[in-house]
Symmetry: C2
Subunit: 235 residues, 2 copies
DNA sequence: TCTTAGAACGAACAGCGTTCGTCGCAAACA
DNA sequence: TGTTTGCGACGAACGCTGTTCGTTCTAAGA
Protein backbone atom coordinates (compact mmCIF):
# COMPACT_ATOMS: atom_id res chain seq x y z
CA UNK A 1 0.00 0.00 0.00
CA UNK A 2 3.03 2.25 0.04
CA UNK A 3 3.38 4.69 -2.79
CA UNK A 4 6.46 6.57 -3.98
CA UNK A 5 7.01 9.88 -2.29
CA UNK A 6 5.96 12.71 -4.62
CA UNK A 7 9.09 14.31 -6.03
CA UNK A 8 7.92 17.80 -5.15
CA UNK A 9 7.71 16.84 -1.55
CA UNK A 10 10.99 17.91 0.00
CA UNK A 11 12.91 14.83 1.09
CA UNK A 12 12.66 14.12 4.79
CA UNK A 13 16.04 14.84 6.26
CA UNK A 14 15.54 13.23 9.65
CA UNK A 15 14.63 9.72 8.69
CA UNK A 16 17.43 8.36 10.85
CA UNK A 17 17.00 8.24 14.59
CA UNK A 18 17.11 11.58 16.32
CA UNK A 19 20.34 12.19 18.17
CA UNK A 20 20.09 12.32 21.94
CA UNK A 21 22.28 11.64 24.95
CA UNK A 22 20.52 8.34 25.49
CA UNK A 23 21.09 6.91 22.03
CA UNK A 24 24.71 8.09 22.14
CA UNK A 25 25.31 6.34 25.46
CA UNK A 26 23.55 3.22 24.27
CA UNK A 27 25.54 3.17 21.03
CA UNK A 28 28.79 3.64 22.92
CA UNK A 29 27.94 0.77 25.21
CA UNK A 30 27.14 -1.46 22.24
CA UNK A 31 30.50 -0.72 20.65
CA UNK A 32 32.20 -1.41 23.97
CA UNK A 33 30.59 -4.83 24.20
CA UNK A 34 31.06 -5.91 20.62
CA UNK A 35 34.47 -4.46 19.76
CA UNK A 36 36.14 -3.66 23.05
CA UNK A 37 37.16 -0.48 24.76
CA UNK A 38 40.02 0.33 22.43
CA UNK A 39 37.49 0.59 19.60
CA UNK A 40 35.33 3.10 21.44
CA UNK A 41 36.08 6.48 19.93
CA UNK A 42 33.94 9.51 19.28
CA UNK A 43 34.31 8.93 15.56
CA UNK A 44 33.23 5.35 15.89
CA UNK A 45 30.10 6.29 17.84
CA UNK A 46 29.31 9.01 15.32
CA UNK A 47 29.81 6.59 12.46
CA UNK A 48 27.44 4.08 14.01
CA UNK A 49 24.86 6.85 14.22
CA UNK A 50 25.58 7.83 10.61
CA UNK A 51 26.88 11.28 11.39
CA UNK A 52 30.09 13.17 12.09
CA UNK A 53 31.94 13.35 15.39
CA UNK A 54 31.12 17.02 15.89
CA UNK A 55 27.43 16.25 16.18
CA UNK A 56 27.93 14.36 19.42
CA UNK A 57 29.25 17.36 21.27
CA UNK A 58 25.81 18.94 21.43
CA UNK A 59 24.69 16.16 23.77
CA UNK A 60 27.91 15.17 25.50
CA UNK A 61 30.59 17.62 26.48
CA UNK A 62 33.49 15.19 26.47
CA UNK A 63 34.60 11.68 25.82
CA UNK A 64 35.20 11.55 29.55
CA UNK A 65 31.61 12.52 30.24
CA UNK A 66 30.39 9.94 27.76
CA UNK A 67 32.36 7.27 29.57
CA UNK A 68 30.95 8.40 32.90
CA UNK A 69 27.44 8.15 31.54
CA UNK A 70 28.14 4.70 30.16
CA UNK A 71 29.64 3.65 33.48
CA UNK A 72 26.59 4.70 35.43
CA UNK A 73 24.36 3.01 32.90
CA UNK A 74 26.33 -0.20 33.55
CA UNK A 75 26.07 0.22 37.32
CA UNK A 76 22.32 0.16 36.88
CA UNK A 77 22.50 -3.51 36.01
CA UNK A 78 23.67 -4.42 39.49
CA UNK A 79 20.87 -5.93 41.49
CA UNK A 80 20.71 -4.93 45.15
CA UNK A 81 18.72 -6.96 47.69
CA UNK A 82 16.94 -5.43 50.65
CA UNK A 83 19.79 -4.73 53.10
CA UNK A 84 19.85 -7.17 55.99
CA UNK A 85 22.57 -6.16 58.49
CA UNK A 86 22.32 -9.51 60.24
CA UNK A 87 24.06 -11.11 57.30
CA UNK A 88 26.05 -8.18 56.00
CA UNK A 89 29.05 -10.31 55.09
CA UNK A 90 27.03 -12.53 52.79
CA UNK A 91 25.29 -9.58 51.16
CA UNK A 92 28.47 -7.58 50.72
CA UNK A 93 30.18 -10.58 49.21
CA UNK A 94 27.28 -11.17 46.83
CA UNK A 95 27.28 -7.55 45.76
CA UNK A 96 31.02 -7.56 45.11
CA UNK A 97 30.86 -10.71 43.03
CA UNK A 98 27.99 -9.45 40.93
CA UNK A 99 29.54 -6.01 40.49
CA UNK A 100 32.77 -7.58 39.27
CA UNK A 101 30.94 -9.89 36.90
CA UNK A 102 29.02 -7.01 35.35
CA UNK A 103 31.99 -4.63 35.20
CA UNK A 104 34.11 -7.34 33.64
CA UNK A 105 31.68 -7.53 30.74
CA UNK A 106 32.29 -3.94 29.76
CA UNK A 107 36.01 -3.64 29.41
CA UNK A 108 37.52 -0.28 30.01
CA UNK A 109 34.57 1.29 31.77
CA UNK A 110 36.15 0.31 35.04
CA UNK A 111 38.99 2.72 34.35
CA UNK A 112 36.61 5.64 34.72
CA UNK A 113 35.52 4.49 38.14
CA UNK A 114 39.09 4.19 39.38
CA UNK A 115 39.68 7.82 38.53
CA UNK A 116 36.40 9.43 39.58
CA UNK A 117 34.28 9.52 42.65
CA UNK A 118 31.23 8.31 40.77
CA UNK A 119 28.27 10.61 41.27
CA UNK A 120 25.76 9.28 38.77
CA UNK A 121 22.33 8.17 39.99
CA UNK A 122 23.21 4.50 40.01
CA UNK A 123 26.49 5.07 41.82
CA UNK A 124 24.54 6.91 44.49
CA UNK A 125 22.09 4.05 44.70
CA UNK A 126 24.91 1.58 45.31
CA UNK A 127 26.65 3.87 47.79
CA UNK A 128 23.49 4.41 49.79
CA UNK A 129 22.86 0.68 49.87
CA UNK A 130 26.33 -0.17 51.16
CA UNK A 131 26.28 2.59 53.75
CA UNK A 132 22.93 1.36 55.02
CA UNK A 133 24.21 -2.18 55.24
CA UNK A 134 27.41 -1.39 57.12
CA UNK A 135 26.04 1.26 59.45
CA UNK A 136 23.14 -1.08 60.14
CA UNK A 137 25.66 -3.74 61.06
CA UNK A 138 27.12 -1.45 63.67
CA UNK A 139 29.96 0.26 61.88
CA UNK A 140 30.61 3.92 62.56
CA UNK A 141 29.61 6.18 59.66
CA UNK A 142 33.19 7.22 59.14
CA UNK A 143 34.52 3.68 59.05
CA UNK A 144 31.63 2.61 56.86
CA UNK A 145 32.34 5.34 54.32
CA UNK A 146 36.00 4.36 54.22
CA UNK A 147 35.06 0.72 53.79
CA UNK A 148 32.69 1.57 50.93
CA UNK A 149 35.43 3.59 49.27
CA UNK A 150 38.07 0.87 49.60
CA UNK A 151 35.80 -1.92 48.47
CA UNK A 152 34.76 0.08 45.41
CA UNK A 153 38.42 0.70 44.61
CA UNK A 154 39.22 -2.99 44.96
CA UNK A 155 36.37 -4.10 42.72
CA UNK A 156 37.04 -1.58 39.98
CA UNK A 157 40.78 -2.19 40.11
CA UNK A 158 40.27 -5.91 39.61
CA UNK A 159 37.80 -5.29 36.81
CA UNK A 160 40.26 -2.92 35.20
CA UNK A 161 43.06 -5.43 35.47
CA UNK A 162 40.83 -8.04 33.89
CA UNK A 163 39.85 -5.72 31.07
CA UNK A 164 43.50 -5.07 30.29
CA UNK A 165 44.13 -8.77 29.97
CA UNK A 166 41.09 -9.02 27.78
CA UNK A 167 42.32 -6.22 25.55
CA UNK A 168 45.67 -7.94 25.16
CA UNK A 169 43.96 -11.17 24.31
CA UNK A 170 41.88 -9.43 21.69
CA UNK A 171 44.97 -7.75 20.26
CA UNK A 172 46.71 -11.12 20.05
CA UNK A 173 43.80 -12.49 18.09
CA UNK A 174 42.94 -15.16 20.67
CA UNK A 175 39.25 -15.75 21.29
CA UNK A 176 39.20 -18.29 24.10
CA UNK A 177 39.85 -16.61 27.47
CA UNK A 178 40.62 -19.90 29.20
CA UNK A 179 43.31 -20.85 26.72
CA UNK A 180 44.76 -17.37 26.88
CA UNK A 181 45.04 -17.31 30.66
CA UNK A 182 46.53 -20.77 30.66
CA UNK A 183 49.15 -19.80 28.15
CA UNK A 184 49.80 -16.66 30.17
CA UNK A 185 50.34 -18.61 33.40
CA UNK A 186 52.56 -21.11 31.65
CA UNK A 187 54.76 -18.36 30.25
CA UNK A 188 55.17 -16.78 33.67
CA UNK A 189 55.90 -20.16 35.25
CA UNK A 190 58.51 -20.99 32.62
CA UNK A 191 60.18 -17.66 33.17
CA UNK A 192 60.26 -18.09 36.93
CA UNK A 193 61.92 -21.45 36.49
CA UNK A 194 64.80 -19.89 34.61
CA UNK A 195 65.64 -17.54 37.48
CA UNK A 196 68.74 -18.15 39.63
CA UNK A 197 67.55 -20.19 42.59
CA UNK A 198 70.02 -18.70 45.02
CA UNK A 199 68.78 -15.13 44.60
CA UNK A 200 65.10 -16.05 44.21
CA UNK A 201 64.53 -19.12 46.36
CA UNK A 202 60.82 -18.50 46.89
CA UNK A 203 59.92 -17.52 43.35
CA UNK A 204 61.70 -20.55 41.91
CA UNK A 205 60.60 -22.87 44.69
CA UNK A 206 56.89 -22.14 44.61
CA UNK A 207 56.29 -21.75 40.89
CA UNK A 208 53.20 -23.96 40.94
CA UNK A 209 51.60 -22.16 43.86
CA UNK A 210 52.32 -18.73 42.41
CA UNK A 211 50.68 -19.39 39.08
CA UNK A 212 47.76 -21.38 40.48
CA UNK A 213 44.27 -19.97 40.75
CA UNK A 214 42.26 -18.12 38.15
CA UNK A 215 41.13 -14.52 38.36
CA UNK A 216 37.99 -15.33 40.32
CA UNK A 217 39.88 -17.22 43.01
CA UNK A 218 42.27 -14.31 43.45
CA UNK A 219 39.43 -11.81 43.57
CA UNK A 220 37.59 -13.81 46.22
CA UNK A 221 40.75 -14.18 48.26
CA UNK A 222 41.26 -10.42 48.43
CA UNK A 223 37.57 -9.86 49.04
CA UNK A 224 37.71 -12.21 52.01
CA UNK A 225 40.72 -10.38 53.40
CA UNK A 226 38.79 -7.11 53.28
CA UNK A 227 35.60 -8.52 54.78
CA UNK A 228 37.52 -10.28 57.55
CA UNK A 229 39.25 -7.01 58.28
CA UNK A 230 35.90 -5.28 58.54
CA UNK A 231 34.60 -7.96 60.86
CA UNK A 232 37.53 -7.43 63.19
CA UNK A 233 36.61 -3.76 63.44
CA UNK A 234 33.08 -4.58 64.48
CA UNK A 235 34.17 -6.63 67.44
CA UNK B 1 91.32 28.21 23.22
CA UNK B 2 88.80 26.62 20.91
CA UNK B 3 89.43 27.00 17.22
CA UNK B 4 87.02 26.50 14.33
CA UNK B 5 86.87 22.99 13.06
CA UNK B 6 88.83 22.69 9.83
CA UNK B 7 86.34 22.48 6.96
CA UNK B 8 88.01 19.43 5.48
CA UNK B 9 87.51 17.57 8.68
CA UNK B 10 84.20 15.73 8.27
CA UNK B 11 81.78 17.10 10.84
CA UNK B 12 81.33 14.85 13.82
CA UNK B 13 77.83 13.49 13.54
CA UNK B 14 77.59 11.95 16.98
CA UNK B 15 78.35 14.90 19.19
CA UNK B 16 75.08 14.46 21.02
CA UNK B 17 74.66 11.62 23.50
CA UNK B 18 74.56 8.21 21.97
CA UNK B 19 71.08 6.72 21.94
CA UNK B 20 70.54 3.72 24.18
CA UNK B 21 67.74 2.07 26.08
CA UNK B 22 69.03 3.54 29.31
CA UNK B 23 69.04 7.16 28.23
CA UNK B 24 65.60 6.71 26.66
CA UNK B 25 64.18 5.30 29.89
CA UNK B 26 65.85 8.00 31.92
CA UNK B 27 64.56 10.73 29.62
CA UNK B 28 61.05 9.31 29.74
CA UNK B 29 61.15 9.26 33.52
CA UNK B 30 62.31 12.85 33.62
CA UNK B 31 59.42 13.96 31.42
CA UNK B 32 57.03 12.00 33.62
CA UNK B 33 58.24 13.81 36.72
CA UNK B 34 58.39 17.30 35.31
CA UNK B 35 55.39 17.39 32.98
CA UNK B 36 53.16 14.50 34.00
CA UNK B 37 52.13 11.30 32.37
CA UNK B 38 49.90 12.89 29.74
CA UNK B 39 52.97 14.65 28.36
CA UNK B 40 54.94 11.44 27.99
CA UNK B 41 54.85 10.55 24.31
CA UNK B 42 57.35 8.94 22.01
CA UNK B 43 57.66 12.19 20.11
CA UNK B 44 58.31 14.08 23.29
CA UNK B 45 61.05 11.70 24.37
CA UNK B 46 62.60 11.86 20.92
CA UNK B 47 62.46 15.64 20.96
CA UNK B 48 64.21 15.77 24.31
CA UNK B 49 66.95 13.62 22.82
CA UNK B 50 67.10 15.86 19.76
CA UNK B 51 66.03 13.21 17.29
CA UNK B 52 62.93 11.83 15.59
CA UNK B 53 60.47 9.38 17.09
CA UNK B 54 61.49 6.60 14.71
CA UNK B 55 64.94 6.47 16.23
CA UNK B 56 63.60 5.21 19.53
CA UNK B 57 62.22 2.04 18.06
CA UNK B 58 65.68 0.59 17.60
CA UNK B 59 66.03 0.39 21.38
CA UNK B 60 62.46 0.00 22.55
CA UNK B 61 59.87 -2.00 20.69
CA UNK B 62 56.85 -0.18 22.02
CA UNK B 63 55.56 2.64 24.09
CA UNK B 64 54.19 -0.10 26.32
CA UNK B 65 57.64 -1.61 26.70
CA UNK B 66 59.09 1.79 27.46
CA UNK B 67 56.54 2.25 30.23
CA UNK B 68 57.36 -1.17 31.62
CA UNK B 69 61.02 -0.31 31.71
CA UNK B 70 60.29 2.99 33.41
CA UNK B 71 58.06 1.23 35.92
CA UNK B 72 60.74 -1.23 36.91
CA UNK B 73 63.26 1.55 37.16
CA UNK B 74 60.89 3.27 39.62
CA UNK B 75 60.43 0.07 41.62
CA UNK B 76 64.16 0.07 42.15
CA UNK B 77 63.80 3.06 44.44
CA UNK B 78 61.86 1.05 47.00
CA UNK B 79 64.02 0.20 49.96
CA UNK B 80 63.54 -3.28 51.40
CA UNK B 81 64.75 -4.17 54.90
CA UNK B 82 66.03 -7.60 55.87
CA UNK B 83 62.82 -9.64 56.22
CA UNK B 84 61.94 -10.33 59.85
CA UNK B 85 58.91 -12.64 59.99
CA UNK B 86 58.45 -11.92 63.70
CA UNK B 87 57.19 -8.46 62.78
CA UNK B 88 55.82 -9.12 59.35
CA UNK B 89 52.85 -6.77 59.83
CA UNK B 90 55.06 -3.82 60.57
CA UNK B 91 57.39 -4.56 57.67
CA UNK B 92 54.56 -5.17 55.21
CA UNK B 93 52.93 -1.95 56.27
CA UNK B 94 56.18 -0.04 55.90
CA UNK B 95 56.76 -1.47 52.46
CA UNK B 96 53.24 -0.61 51.31
CA UNK B 97 53.50 2.96 52.54
CA UNK B 98 56.85 3.52 50.88
CA UNK B 99 55.79 1.86 47.66
CA UNK B 100 52.73 4.09 47.46
CA UNK B 101 54.76 7.18 48.20
CA UNK B 102 57.22 6.39 45.43
CA UNK B 103 54.62 5.32 42.90
CA UNK B 104 52.57 8.42 43.63
CA UNK B 105 55.51 10.54 42.51
CA UNK B 106 55.46 9.11 39.02
CA UNK B 107 51.92 9.54 37.82
CA UNK B 108 50.68 7.11 35.26
CA UNK B 109 53.37 4.49 35.69
CA UNK B 110 51.09 2.72 38.13
CA UNK B 111 48.70 2.00 35.28
CA UNK B 112 51.24 -0.34 33.73
CA UNK B 113 51.49 -2.36 36.90
CA UNK B 114 47.73 -2.78 37.15
CA UNK B 115 47.69 -4.37 33.73
CA UNK B 116 50.82 -6.52 33.80
CA UNK B 117 52.28 -9.14 35.99
CA UNK B 118 55.50 -7.21 36.41
CA UNK B 119 58.52 -9.29 35.49
CA UNK B 120 61.31 -6.76 35.56
CA UNK B 121 64.30 -7.33 37.83
CA UNK B 122 63.10 -4.97 40.51
CA UNK B 123 59.60 -6.41 40.48
CA UNK B 124 61.14 -9.81 41.06
CA UNK B 125 63.19 -8.42 43.91
CA UNK B 126 60.06 -7.06 45.61
CA UNK B 127 58.08 -10.24 44.97
CA UNK B 128 60.81 -12.42 46.39
CA UNK B 129 61.05 -10.22 49.46
CA UNK B 130 57.32 -10.35 50.18
CA UNK B 131 57.11 -14.09 49.61
CA UNK B 132 59.97 -14.63 52.02
CA UNK B 133 58.35 -12.44 54.63
CA UNK B 134 54.92 -14.08 54.48
CA UNK B 135 56.05 -17.68 54.11
CA UNK B 136 58.47 -17.03 56.92
CA UNK B 137 55.57 -15.82 59.03
CA UNK B 138 53.86 -19.14 58.51
CA UNK B 139 51.62 -18.54 55.54
CA UNK B 140 51.22 -21.31 52.98
CA UNK B 141 52.99 -20.56 49.70
CA UNK B 142 49.72 -20.47 47.84
CA UNK B 143 48.10 -18.05 50.26
CA UNK B 144 51.24 -15.97 50.37
CA UNK B 145 51.36 -15.64 46.59
CA UNK B 146 47.70 -14.59 46.54
CA UNK B 147 48.37 -12.08 49.28
CA UNK B 148 51.33 -10.64 47.41
CA UNK B 149 49.21 -10.34 44.29
CA UNK B 150 46.30 -8.64 46.06
CA UNK B 151 48.47 -6.24 48.00
CA UNK B 152 50.27 -5.21 44.83
CA UNK B 153 46.94 -4.63 43.13
CA UNK B 154 45.75 -2.52 46.02
CA UNK B 155 48.86 -0.37 46.11
CA UNK B 156 49.03 0.23 42.38
CA UNK B 157 45.29 0.90 42.17
CA UNK B 158 45.52 3.53 44.85
CA UNK B 159 48.55 5.08 43.21
CA UNK B 160 46.75 5.09 39.90
CA UNK B 161 43.70 6.75 41.42
CA UNK B 162 45.93 9.36 42.98
CA UNK B 163 47.70 10.00 39.71
CA UNK B 164 44.39 10.57 37.96
CA UNK B 165 43.47 13.18 40.51
CA UNK B 166 46.85 14.73 40.03
CA UNK B 167 46.40 14.84 36.27
CA UNK B 168 43.06 16.57 36.69
CA UNK B 169 44.58 19.05 39.03
CA UNK B 170 47.32 19.80 36.55
CA UNK B 171 44.78 20.16 33.75
CA UNK B 172 42.80 22.60 35.88
CA UNK B 173 45.90 24.68 36.37
CA UNK B 174 45.92 24.27 40.15
CA UNK B 175 49.31 23.79 41.73
CA UNK B 176 48.52 23.23 45.40
CA UNK B 177 47.38 19.63 45.99
CA UNK B 178 45.93 20.41 49.40
CA UNK B 179 43.73 23.19 48.11
CA UNK B 180 42.63 21.04 45.20
CA UNK B 181 41.58 18.10 47.34
CA UNK B 182 39.78 20.40 49.75
CA UNK B 183 37.85 22.00 46.93
CA UNK B 184 37.11 18.54 45.57
CA UNK B 185 35.75 17.31 48.91
CA UNK B 186 33.67 20.45 49.35
CA UNK B 187 32.09 20.03 45.93
CA UNK B 188 31.16 16.43 46.67
CA UNK B 189 29.79 17.39 50.07
CA UNK B 190 27.70 20.20 48.61
CA UNK B 191 26.31 17.86 46.02
CA UNK B 192 25.40 15.23 48.60
CA UNK B 193 23.54 17.82 50.61
CA UNK B 194 21.27 18.59 47.67
CA UNK B 195 20.10 14.98 47.40
CA UNK B 196 16.58 14.00 48.52
CA UNK B 197 16.94 12.87 52.12
CA UNK B 198 14.18 10.29 51.91
CA UNK B 199 15.84 8.27 49.17
CA UNK B 200 19.41 8.79 50.39
CA UNK B 201 19.21 8.98 54.19
CA UNK B 202 22.78 7.85 54.78
CA UNK B 203 24.46 9.88 52.07
CA UNK B 204 22.73 13.06 53.19
CA UNK B 205 23.01 12.25 56.89
CA UNK B 206 26.70 11.48 57.02
CA UNK B 207 28.11 14.05 54.62
CA UNK B 208 30.87 15.09 56.99
CA UNK B 209 32.01 11.55 57.67
CA UNK B 210 31.96 10.59 53.99
CA UNK B 211 34.16 13.43 52.84
CA UNK B 212 36.53 13.31 55.81
CA UNK B 213 40.01 11.85 55.61
CA UNK B 214 42.67 12.49 53.04
CA UNK B 215 44.09 9.99 50.60
CA UNK B 216 46.66 8.65 53.03
CA UNK B 217 44.10 7.94 55.73
CA UNK B 218 41.96 6.02 53.25
CA UNK B 219 44.95 4.08 51.97
CA UNK B 220 46.00 3.10 55.47
CA UNK B 221 42.48 2.06 56.35
CA UNK B 222 42.30 -0.35 53.43
CA UNK B 223 45.83 -1.54 54.11
CA UNK B 224 44.86 -2.35 57.68
CA UNK B 225 41.82 -4.28 56.49
CA UNK B 226 44.05 -6.42 54.29
CA UNK B 227 46.71 -7.03 56.93
CA UNK B 228 44.11 -7.86 59.56
CA UNK B 229 42.59 -10.31 57.12
CA UNK B 230 45.98 -11.92 56.61
CA UNK B 231 46.52 -12.15 60.36
CA UNK B 232 43.25 -14.00 60.74
CA UNK B 233 44.43 -16.59 58.23
CA UNK B 234 47.59 -17.22 60.22
CA UNK B 235 45.73 -18.14 63.36
C1' DT C 1 4.94 35.19 8.77
C1' DC C 2 9.20 36.44 10.73
C1' DT C 3 12.69 35.68 14.10
C1' DT C 4 15.77 33.12 16.60
C1' DA C 5 17.79 29.39 19.41
C1' DG C 6 20.10 25.45 18.89
C1' DA C 7 21.07 20.99 16.69
C1' DA C 8 23.71 19.07 12.78
C1' DC C 9 27.80 18.80 10.48
C1' DG C 10 31.93 19.39 7.06
C1' DA C 11 36.40 20.66 7.57
C1' DA C 12 40.19 21.34 9.86
C1' DC C 13 43.86 21.44 13.78
C1' DA C 14 47.20 19.51 16.54
C1' DG C 15 48.62 15.64 18.29
C1' DC C 16 49.37 10.53 18.73
C1' DG C 17 51.98 5.54 17.91
C1' DT C 18 54.03 3.23 14.50
C1' DT C 19 56.18 1.79 9.88
C1' DC C 20 58.71 2.19 5.60
C1' DG C 21 62.63 3.02 3.03
C1' DT C 22 66.80 5.41 2.69
C1' DC C 23 71.25 7.01 4.29
C1' DG C 24 75.68 6.63 6.33
C1' DC C 25 78.82 4.91 9.55
C1' DA C 26 81.65 1.24 11.48
C1' DA C 27 83.07 -3.18 12.10
C1' DA C 28 84.00 -7.69 9.84
C1' DC C 29 85.68 -10.05 6.19
C1' DA C 30 88.51 -11.06 1.98
C1' DT D 1 93.97 -2.39 2.21
C1' DG D 2 89.60 -2.69 -0.20
C1' DT D 3 84.96 -4.38 -0.04
C1' DT D 4 80.92 -5.91 1.94
C1' DT D 5 77.46 -6.08 5.19
C1' DG D 6 74.73 -5.16 9.23
C1' DC D 7 72.50 -1.82 11.80
C1' DG D 8 71.47 2.55 14.13
C1' DA D 9 69.58 7.03 12.76
C1' DC D 10 65.91 9.34 10.82
C1' DG D 11 62.67 12.07 7.38
C1' DA D 12 58.36 11.29 5.80
C1' DA D 13 54.25 9.43 5.86
C1' DC D 14 49.90 6.60 7.33
C1' DG D 15 45.93 6.27 9.82
C1' DC D 16 44.14 7.27 13.81
C1' DT D 17 42.63 10.27 17.98
C1' DG D 18 39.68 14.24 20.64
C1' DT D 19 38.11 18.57 19.90
C1' DT D 20 36.79 23.28 17.80
C1' DC D 21 35.26 26.62 14.37
C1' DG D 22 31.99 28.41 11.40
C1' DT D 23 28.25 27.50 8.61
C1' DT D 24 23.76 25.52 7.36
C1' DC D 25 19.32 24.15 8.41
C1' DT D 26 15.24 22.99 11.15
C1' DA D 27 11.62 23.89 14.12
C1' DA D 28 9.39 26.30 17.63
C1' DG D 29 7.90 30.81 19.59
C1' DA D 30 6.29 35.68 18.91
Amino acid sequence: MTVPTPPWRTARKRAKTQLSQDVIVETGLRILVTDGSEALSMRRVAQALDTGPASLYAHVSNKEELLELIFDRVLGEIHLPEPDPAQWQRQLRGYAMEALRILAQYGDVARIAVANVPTGPNALRVGEWMMGLLVGAGMSPREASFAVDRLALYITADAFEGSQHFARMRAAGVTDPGAYMEEFATRIADYYRTLPADRFPHLTGYVEEMTAGDGDARFEFGLDLLITGMEARLR
